[in-house]
Symmetry: none
Amino acid sequence: MRYDIAIVGSGPAGLSAAINGKIRKKNIIVFGNENLSNKLVKAPSIDNYLGFYDISGDELKDKFKKHIENMDIEISTKKINNVYAMGEYFALMSGDDMFEATTVILATGVEYGKPIKGEEEFLGKGVGYCATCDAPLYRDKKVAIIGYNKESEEEANFLNEIASKTYFIPMYKNEGLMRSLNDLDSSIEVINERPIKIQGDNLVNSVAFKENEIDVDGVFVIKDSASPKALVPGIETDGPHIKVDINMKTSIEGCFASGDCVGKPYSYIKSAGQGQIAALSAVSYLDKLKIEQKKQQK
Amino acid sequence: MRYDIAIVGSGPAGLSAAINGKIRKKNIIVFGNENLSNKLVKAPSIDNYLGFYDISGDELKDKFKKHIENMDIEISTKKINNVYAMGEYFALMSGDDMFEATTVILATGVEYGKPIKGEEEFLGKGVGYCATCDAPLYRDKKVAIIGYNKESEEEANFLNEIASKTYFIPMYKNEGLMRSLNDLDSSIEVINERPIKIQGDNLVNSVAFKENEIDVDGVFVIKDSASPKALVPGIETDGPHIKVDINMKTSIEGCFASGDCVGKPYSYIKSAGQGQIAALSAVSYLDKLKIEQKKQQK
């Protein structure tokens, strides 16, 4: 069988696309995981999803789950390895299985690069990826920002307004670095050394370097991501992100994208909003296709 | 005082911008109404706001209200008539009051009413959107108020104190209409007919109906929100919508927009997502400005 819309990803962008596709009576399939979003469930407290104040990621995930269950939307846990544009349809490969769909919505999130030792282990237990989301937890505490890009300096300045002590560990080197680090608040301590390990007991308590370590209550890892070109051969990207227009169309006809994978800000309601736009663009594409096919049959 | 961010509109886009601006510790002001969004509260059942299934618009409004109350965000009910880009800041005019802000986020929604023939042509030449602002021009003259909401009746009463003759043309119908029209001064002439055209030579001189016309010197069109060009002189638009890029930047530096006013789909979570993007773009703009100012001081 051929689906109208295949959605790759079950975070806020994918789910929002799913409910909108279903409301518009399209035949959809959603590929994701049972947790819906590993990033979401680990968020300790979310204040910026309008309608829910001070909600944990896990609670918000439950709200999302209830919403899709009420609409009889199921998540396939098959992992999609490749999406090929075949002309009239897309072939979504999962190991030896193949799924066909007339349109595809990519909502894959951002793939983080190689993690630092301890980074994944302590995710949600002192390690976070979003300063704006988690900063309130670290009021008057000690934090380290491990920054892979220039934007991480802004996050460091923001955290420094809240934390009692802020360390900044730049993981990037470029000609702008020396100049740009001058934009950091002078009270931030810069450590020009690669961290070897994030460590702790139940919660993070330190970051280890080759010869010394620093005591911290929290670590923010601010990264870009790997390219989605491996997933969808031929798709146009802009750095780590899939290029889309304001209607969430990618460079490939019939293929739409939304959420973290199309760019910053990496946040939940922005992703849900874009998922909705992507679904409605896919619906509009499908409806036009149907009209054209009818005309050709005449 | 000068605010960091002034947000015009209290629907999902404006509120989402507000909570994100507040989380990023910016000094914000939100202009809107106590109902938050007249469109939202009238929605019977909403299924496509991820996290809430089968919720009434009024209930969702209450969720939004609780969210902003938890974050100590208040709504100013001052109506903004004009936003002027002054170079280093924006001046937001509300009758005789002026508010200053370094950045502006427009989240005004869309007026579904199509403009009346001649309305745009004679804007500033006898057609106005703000009785309080322009009333002195019509002392002892004849004016018509074309009112799309209950508030327009107050404007009519106010104009009637100044003008020699006042016509009131209600464009809305509801159960409260007959009662509420009793609040109009008895010397105001009510015309229960749709106007077809506002006409004149250089300046307005009459309003035409199907079979007759009335001679007037001025026409006030009182809607929930003005067209973007009337609100923000010089802003680039695309039909009824404000032109924005993917970061919600408008054609005016420091001015951002989100929600229904930037285009379709007209829906709640799309608006909330865009409001978040607009706020984070404004924050980034403010932070860059601060760094530049520091450099110049050195």
